[in-house]
């Protein structure tokens, strides 16, 4: 008790300094080296992410550059070089034969992404509309976490699912002569299932963010629930939904394990989804499975593919962000 009383005394003295011999209080900002040090460290932590981006760009760029500037000597002693134009002007991707037309990988990637989007976008948006506009709070509280579980399953598990369930299903439905064991369609469909919760969750957020008053106004004018949803809520949430769609495409392009497991491992310039084909990610994963020797054509080639992949996903992410920034309707 005595101690406490003393502290109170002291505080009183600080607030109202007396004129006798107690030192006057310096109210100027003190330099605190410890604090600055901590701030510096925290800034470094934040800057770490910038460093990561720079490192990605440098690594991918440097190795890609090496591909077009290096000279590769084959077993026979002949020297091969790769020209920048070879990537777009040829249509065969066989780096061990010094053929680096990116077209087969790119078509397979886009094909698989398109199939995935056929599944993920309508079903995802449908689920989102159901959860946001139709479902009772109880259903919503049960179903949303389940969808989150679906989103949290590792992609390698989806790969297993594609090979173990989807491929046999497709083969039974369409015939074994049509559907190869490893095929883009099966991988793409399962990838759609994988991305579905992402689309549903992001779209649902966008739909829920539309204020109630808009819906009530629409009902007040005699609209049905569907008309309210389609004519009022969807247009109001379109920026968020578009962003979700674009993020979904970006995820589909960058997805690796499903492709590496179920889409097969051969370079195939085709639009037939029932054949096996290397996607860009599938190529990177399957070529680097073993001990990949440094500074070979194979080693450099994965970085070129990676660079393309990085640019594509980055572009899509930026696009999605700018759509949100530009078209977002802010209601208060």
């Amino acid at each position: 008790m005595e101690h406490k009383a003393m502290m109170v005394n002291e505080r009183v003295r600080l607030v109202a300094p007396t004129h006798d011999d107690t030192p006057s209080l310096n109210l100027m900002k003190r330099r605190r080296p410890g604090e600055s040090l901590i701030q510096g460290f925290l800034f470094l932590c934040g800057f770490m992410t910038i460093f990561t981006t720079i490192a990605i760009v440098i690594v991918l760029g440097r190795e890609s550059l090496l591909l077009v500037t290096s000279e590769y000597v084959d077993e026979g002693g002949a020297i091969h070089t790769i020209g920048v134009l070879d990537f777009v002007s040829t249509t065969r991707w066989q780096p061990h034969r010094y053929e680096v037309g990116i077209a087969p990988l790119a078509t397979a990637t886009l094909l698989s992404a398109a199939i995935a989007m056929l599944v993920a976008l309508p079903l995802g948006l449908g689920s989102a509309i159901y959860l946001s506009e139709y479902a009772s709070p109880r259903v919503r509280a049960t179903v949303k976490p389940i969808l989150e579980v679906l989103a949290g399953v590792p992609t390698v598990v989806y790969g297993f699912f594609a090979l173990q369930f989807m491929t046999p299903l497709l083969q039974d439905l369409l015939g074994r002569d049509v559907v190869e064991i490893f095929n883009v369609a099966s991988a793409g469909l399962v990838m759609g299932v994988m991305i579905l919760p992402l689309v549903a969750s992001m779209s649902e957020d966008a739909l829920s963010a539309v204020p109630r008053s808009l819906r009530e106004a629409s009902y007040g004018l005699g609209s049905t629930r569907l008309e309210t949803t389609v004519r009022v809520v969807l247009p109001a949430a379109v920026s968020g939904i578009a962003a979700a769609f674009i993020i979904a495409i970006s995820r589909a392009i960058g997805e690796t394990m499903i492709m590496a497991i179920a889409a097969g491992a051969r370079s195939n310039f085709t639009l037939n989804p029932f054949e096996s084909a290397w996607t860009m990610t599938g190529y990177i994963a399957s070529i680097s499975g073993g001990d990949l020797a440094y500074d070979t054509l194979d080693y450099n080639s994965i970085f070129v593919v990676g660079l393309l992949l990085f640019l594509m996903t980055l572009l899509l992410n930026i696009l999605s962000r700018s759509i949100v920034a530009r078209f977002r309707e802010v209601y208060e």
Binding site: T52, V153, T155, G254, A260, S288, T313, R321
Partner: protein
């Protein structure tokens, strides 16, 4: 291709039906009809308008593209016709509908709404169904029937074994005859007299069998009163006595121990026939002979009464039995038929079928020791002693083999008389005895199961088939793997979690190195990503102004969160594995791995991968801290860092931890970066620290999923279960943290 075309046609027809259903309701309402009927008519028109032309074209031309095209054109055309040609019942339309027409309008709009609602429900159902199917596919592969084939049936080991009563060198010589007479089969005892006392070769036995002892054991010690008794008529006690008279104590002791562990494969046909005749009923043996020799299964039915000569036409049987009805055969006669007609492997199989045998689990430690001595090779026994009893590392084994037992087994239980014997000089029986003294029964059984019984899963069936198609599976097993037996098996079990990897045997492989590897990698990931991520979040939320640099950092973090994980793998490969090889391989601290493909590289790579996620989550948690808390702290004179450390962080910590755990559960499942960083899929040793080569759970799943053998798919499913349980545990932790946070806030 035909199927594909029809599939496409059906698909388009369904879409047209859907469109027809939704669009027809208002159109028919406008024309004055019941909109619900209109919706139905539109749906049917779309469906059949698509399907019928498709089927016709399919019959006529069969060209795939045409079929799909016909479906599209037919469906669209039929719908257009329906809407166009439907006569309008209402002559004129008001701008504002009223009365019946307004009623129809409302019904039409609600019909449309109902169809749309069904669609929305359908899509969420499909999503949930997908999750269900995913889990079912995994479960379906994790549990199921397996055909297990033994190299040696456990029953073959226990059929004749008995407890020798003492260790090989310690049985009292005077007790041995009684033990032999009691436990060893009479036929075997007589054979032992021929083999051990007379020293006759196996081929000479049938000839000596009925001769009197005076002829067979000429020059050996035998009681005079037995001189005229043939060997085949010796009583067990008499035979045991003969053995005791003629063998020295050491031979007798090792004979006892050897007999105690004798397996079926070491028995003569005469003994097998005798055991069959004694151990099984005549009816049982008749059925067995019928099934195994003639290939006729009567299972529970009547044994045929036709004469043996007719039933076994073409097989070997004694002439005297030719006219005996088959169901009148005595047990001994049926057993003789089996023995003369069957190959050795089939005969042993039939014996195990007919006779009751004990399980290995029911045997005593000494009995297991005797069986081990008789059936496991000496080299393997020595390895087991060094590994399981001495506990020596594999590299030191060559140095240990010459040591005397007294030194090698100091402090362990071993016969005192062997202290001076060199380890390399001990016999099988002594080695097995040492194992039996020092290991518990489970370890001995494991040794026998691994080295002798060698159970192997030769085929597996999914859970669904196992539950519904049991009889089909039994047929398949009997035709493909007649010597195997069906067993239920859960591929996730204790052994699976704790065993090392086996690249060839999906039924024996475990995931221990991968589990350890995953946990080590995650530990490093957390150590790196958590402080840096939280630090960055604090900086961005508490310190950063709205300067251009800070905005760039913020945008950049959001972009990084969208970069595919495989790109991080390439970053890790180029930077951690290659450029920083000296550090990540542990060379700077001495020793370590040969290259940078180590746990450390993998941990760093995954840390970079989840860093943006941790930052974003932590930022949100910090943003949720009320500003009044900070102001109160400043008001009391705290510095910025004091405020953050003592007030903001504790308040935000549950949220930060929740976000971090979610990010970590993402990292645990990541596969692609680990492939690039160079995770192995087969390791002989567990990862020991940050500088060892590694494998991880998702890598194994990837590897096993892509291997051709179906049983590895079972192992992959089991590994997936382990991974999902791990993730579920982490997520539950996050949920608990979140609920504690909200409780504290309220």
């Amino acid at each position: 291709m035909d199927r594909l075309a029809l599939f496409g046609a059906v698909f388009f027809s369904l879409i047209l039906a859907l469109n027809g259903g939704m669009t027809s309701a208002p159109i028919t309402a406008r024309k004055g009809y019941n909109p619900r009927l209109g919706a139905l008519a539109g749906a049917l028109t779309g469906l059949f308008g698509g399907l019928i032309p498709a089927l016709i074209v399919h019959q006529v031309s069969g060209a795939g593209g045409l079929v799909v095209f016909a479906a599209l054109i037919g469906g669209v055309g039929a719908l257009a016709l329906l809407w166009r040609l439907l006569p309008s019942r209402d002559a004129q339309r008001d701008i504002l509908p009223s009365g019946a027409s307004m009623q129809r309008n409302i019904v039409a709009r609600h019909t449309r709404g109902a169809i749309a609602q069904a669609l929305f429900i359908l899509s969420i159902t499909v999503a949930l169904l997908a999750l269900g199917t995913l889990l079912w596919t995994i479960l379906n592969k994790t549990v199921g029937l397996t055909a297990v084939q033994y190299n040696v049936e456990p029953g073959a080991l226990t059929l004749a074994s008995f407890d020798p009563g003492a260790a090989p060198d310690e049985a009292a010589p005077e007790d041995i005859p009684a033990l032999l007479a009691e436990h060893v089969h009479p036929v075997r005892l007589r054979e032992l007299v021929l083999e051990q006392v007379a020293g006759a070769r196996l081929s000479a036995w049938p000839e000596l069998w009925d001769q009197p002892l005076s002829a067979v054991l000429q020059g050996y010690d035998f009681p005079a009163e037995l001189a005229g008794t043939p060997v085949s008529a010796l009583e067990p006690a008499q035979a045991a006595d003969l053995l005791a008279r003629n063998l020295d104590a050491g031979s007798l002791q090792s004979l006892l121990y050897a007999e105690a562990g004798r397996a079926l494969s070491m028995m003569s046909e005469a003994e097998i026939a005798a055991r069959l005749a004694e151990g099984a009923s005549a009816g049982r043996l008749q059925r067995l002979a019928l099934a195994r020799v003639a290939g006729v299964r009567v299972d529970d039915g009547e044994v045929p009464s036709e004469p043996v000569g007719e039933v076994l036409d073409g097989y070997a049987f004694p002439e005297a039995l030719a006219d005996t009805p088959f169901n009148q055969l005595t047990a001994a006669e049926s057993a003789a038929l089996l023995v003369t007609n069957l190959e050795r492997a089939d005969l042993e199989d039939a014996v195990l079928d007919a006779l009751d045998t004990r399980e290995l689990d029911d045997l005593s430690g000494r009995e297991l020791g005797a069986i081990t001595a008789a059936n496991v090779r000496k080299a393997l026994l020595r390895v087991a002693i060094l590994r399981d009893v001495v506990g020596a590392a594999e590299s030191t084994w060559p140095d240990l083999s010459g040591q005397p037992l007294g030194v090698l087994l100091k402090g362990k239980d071993f016969p005192a008389g062997l202290a001076e014997t060199s380890f390399s000089q001990i016999t099988e029986q002594q080695a097995a005895d040492i194992l039996a003294r020092n290991l518990d029964r489970d370890a001995l059984i494991t040794l026998l199961m691994d080295q002798v019984v060698q159970a192997q899963v030769v085929k597996s069936w999914p859970l669904w088939d196992s539950l519904t198609g049991r009889s089909a599976i039994e047929t398949a097993q009997q035709t493909q793997f007649p010597r195997a037996e069906l067993q239920w098996r859960s591929w996730v079990n204790a052994d699976f979690l704790t065993s090392p990897l086996d690249p060839r045997r999906p039924d024996l492989t475990g995931i221990r190195p991968a589990l350890i590897g995953s946990l080590l990698i995650i530990a490093i990931t957390i150590l790196v990503a958590f402080p840096v991520g939280v630090g960055a979040a604090i900086y961005l939320e508490e310190y950063a102004g709205r300067s251009r640099l800070n905005q760039i950092i913020q945008t950049n973090i959001n972009n990084l969160a969208g970069v595919p994980s495989i790109i991080y793998g390439m970053l890790g490969l180029a930077i951690f594995v290659r450029s920083l090889e000296a550090i990540t391989s542990g060379r700077v601290v001495g020793g370590g791995a040969a290259n940078g493909r180590t746990v450390l590289s993998a941990g760093f790579t995954l840390a970079l991968l989840i860093l943006p996620l941790i930052i974003i989550n932590a930022q949100e948690a910090i943003r949720a801290v009320p500003g009044s808390l900070r102001q109160a702290s400043y008001g009391l004179g705290a510095t910025k860092w004091q405020t953050i450390w003592h007030h903001v962080l504790p308040y935000a910590m549950p949220g930060i931890l929740t976000g971090t755990i979610l990010a970590i559960s993402r990292a645990i499942g990541e596969t692609a970066p680990l492939i690039l960083v160079g995770g192995a899929t087969y390791l002989t040793r567990d990862p020991e620290g940050p500088f060892s080569i590694f494998t991880a759970l998702p890598l194994l799943i990837y590897r096993w999923t892509t291997l051709p053998q179906d049983e590895f798919r079972n192992a992959a499913a089991a590994a997936i279960i382990v991974l999902l349980v791990l993730l579920l545990g982490l997520n539950s932790l996050a949920i608990i943290l979140r609920s504690r946070l909200s409780r504290r806030l309220s």
